[in-house]
């Protein structure tokens, strides 16, 4: 194909975008909607992943010492934890003394009758330990429970509640993702096939005429494909703008909600850092949807 023909076909496709306003509008709308749904899923996934990371890093191991622990036994536990910290397995830990535990209990139970007869002496000392990576937890807990000062009957708490919470969230998220994906697929397939059908109908005669005048298939096809690619790209840009606005608003609202329900450090990510990734994905998907859509719509009518 000669260069002036390529230029001509690209120009032809571009001018079709402008001239067939209704079809262009319908196609762009379809792509904007489809990509918007895709974006919601992507952003949801990015947020869930990052928040799971946050939660994992936040998981605490709680270990209680025996009530009658000796200073030597306590020292042994501290030495062990300090050693792990130096080895880079423990990121930080807090020691909670009998007195502090008593104060905490008093706060929780306040004037309750249960507090009667309780003294700091009845309390167990404990450590709250954060690991640098949850993968160390099993070995760490095993080694810790081998120490004589550690209360084995109560067991070593490994942020079990948090884990349960996390798993519940994950489960719900999976359902949401599946539901949204299903909706996305149905919607986009429906809308795109409809738009293509309309486009084909509108262009059937045009394709036919080109065939009668002796145009090669490629000559007929390329302006349509250029048109599809352009529409896809325009749709991607528009959808990106809408997504970024909607997301920024949602992020603002959700972060207020999360803070009010004291669910920090969970948070909704800023749009900025993921913007480029989202845009590239939108552009690729938009261009592919537009190109394939046009290609299919012409192919059906090339055999005149």
């Amino acid at each position: 194909m000669k260069i002036r023909t390529v230029k001509l076909l690209v120009k032809e496709g571009a001018s079709n975008v402008v001239k067939n306003k209704l079809m262009t509008f319908a196609s762009i709308t379809t792509i904007v909607i489809t990509l918007f749904f895709l974006g919601i899923i992507l952003l949801l996934a990015v947020n869930i992943t990052s928040n799971i990371e946050v939660m994992k890093r936040d998981l605490k191991i709680t270990v209680f010492l025996n009530i009658d622990v000796s200073p030597f036994q306590r020292e042994e536990v501290i030495t062990f934890i300090d050693g792990r910290k130096e080895a880079g397995i423990v990121s930080e830990y807090v020691y909670i003394s009998k007195e502090q535990m008593f104060e905490d209990m008093k706060q929780i139970l306040s004037n309750d009758a249960l507090m009667k007869g309780l003294t700091p002496e009845n309390m167990a000392e404990s450590f709250e330990i954060k690991l640098t990576d949850p993968v160390y937890s099993e070995e760490f807990i095993q080694q810790l429970s081998a120490l004589s000062g550690v209360n084995k009957d109560n067991g070593i708490g490994y942020g079990k509640e948090e884990l349960d919470k996390l798993e519940a969230i994950l489960k719900v998220f999976n359902y949401i993702v599946m539901a949204v994906l299903a909706v996305l697929m149905v919607v986009s397939v429906f809308l795109i096939s409809n738009t293509i059908r309309l486009t084909v109908f509108a262009r059937r005669r045009q394709i036919e005429i080109m065939k009668y005048v002796g145009a090669l298939d490629s000559f007929i096809r390329w302006p349509f494909i250029v048109e599809g690619l352009l529409i896809g790209f325009i749709g991607a840009v528009l959808s990106f703008l809408i997504t970024s606005q909607a997301y920024s608003w949602l992020q603002h609202v959700l972060n207020i909600v999360l803070t009010n329900f004291s669910l920090a450090p969970l948070n909704v990510l800023e749009f900025g850092p993921v913007a480029l990734r989202i845009f590239v994905i939108y552009a690729i998907f938009g261009v592919i949807i537009g190109g394939i859509g046009s290609f299919l719509s012409v192919r059906k009518h090339l055999n005149v």
């Binding site: 002036r4 023909t5 079709n16 005669r205 005429i209 005048v213 002796g214 145009a215 090669l216 005149v304």
Partner: protein
């Protein structure tokens, strides 16, 4: 040159379009194809254009074997033909000039050739002044002139016209016919399928009459059969 050898076309629904037609049209001829509706006129032209292929027999057009040619060569066959339809078939989103230019862009003519040839073709059909008009801004006769210009601009060996005056008033019809004759005199083979008795009788050209898909008569300087 166009040659049908015992060509038969049976459509998939069983309708016989053409039955055992053998005919030869030489370069430079002017031929009317006449006959009542359903007599096979359209099928005859469709076979020439490879819009349909014969179920039996052979059809040769400008050196192409229509009955046995790869799909990829069909565009080249069509470029050797100029085609005029009853319903014009112009691209609605292009001006008269661009519609004619389009036929040249398809064959990858240079811009210089296009700028020289398109005004010539529009001038030949007397439409120079309407070059910038869109099809919906032109009368039926004017649209048909654009179609003629488009059909001519690549200097095809054969011009095919299917009821070219079917949608036009008598005066305009005659103008189109005179144009066709002029084109024929410049060496182009012209094949016209038509119902227009008065025109056929007046022009005294070769007339091939079809009936039920068969050739009923084929005469030089023929006239429309009186069907009453």
């Amino acid at each position: 040159m166009i040659k049908f050898v015992d060509a038969t076309k049976v459509y998939s629904n069983g309708v016989v379009g053409l039955r055992n037609v053998t005919v030869k049209i030489d370069k430079g001829e002017f031929v009317f194809i006449i006959g009542p509706s359903g007599s096979g006129k359209s099928t005859f032209l469709k076979l020439i254009m490879h819009e349909e292929v014969p179920t039996e027999g052979e059809v040769y057009v400008n050196g192409y074997s229509v009955h046995d040619m790869p799909q990829s060569e069909v565009p080249y066959l069509r470029r050797s033909l100029g085609v005029v339809f009853q319903d014009f078939r112009l691209l609605p989103n292009k001006t008269a000039y661009d519609n004619v230019a389009f036929a040249m862009q398809i064959v990858e003519a240079t811009n210089r050739e296009i700028r020289r040839q398109v005004p010539l073709a529009l001038g030949l059909v007397g439409l120079s002044k309407k070059a910038k008009a869109y099809p919906n801004q032109l009368s039926g006769g004017e649209q048909q002139r654009v179609v003629l210009a488009r059909a001519l601009v690549n200097n095809p060996a054969v011009l095919i016209a299917d009821e070219p005056t079917g949608n036009l008033d008598p005066k305009t019809s005659w103008e189109i016919m005179n144009l066709l004759e002029e084109i024929n005199q410049r060496g182009t083979t012209v094949i016209v399928a038509t119902h227009e008795k008065s025109i056929v009788d007046a022009m005294k050209k070769r007339v091939i009459t079809l009936e039920h898909g068969e050739i009923k008569s084929d005469e030089q300087k023929g006239s429309y059969f009186n069907e009453d």
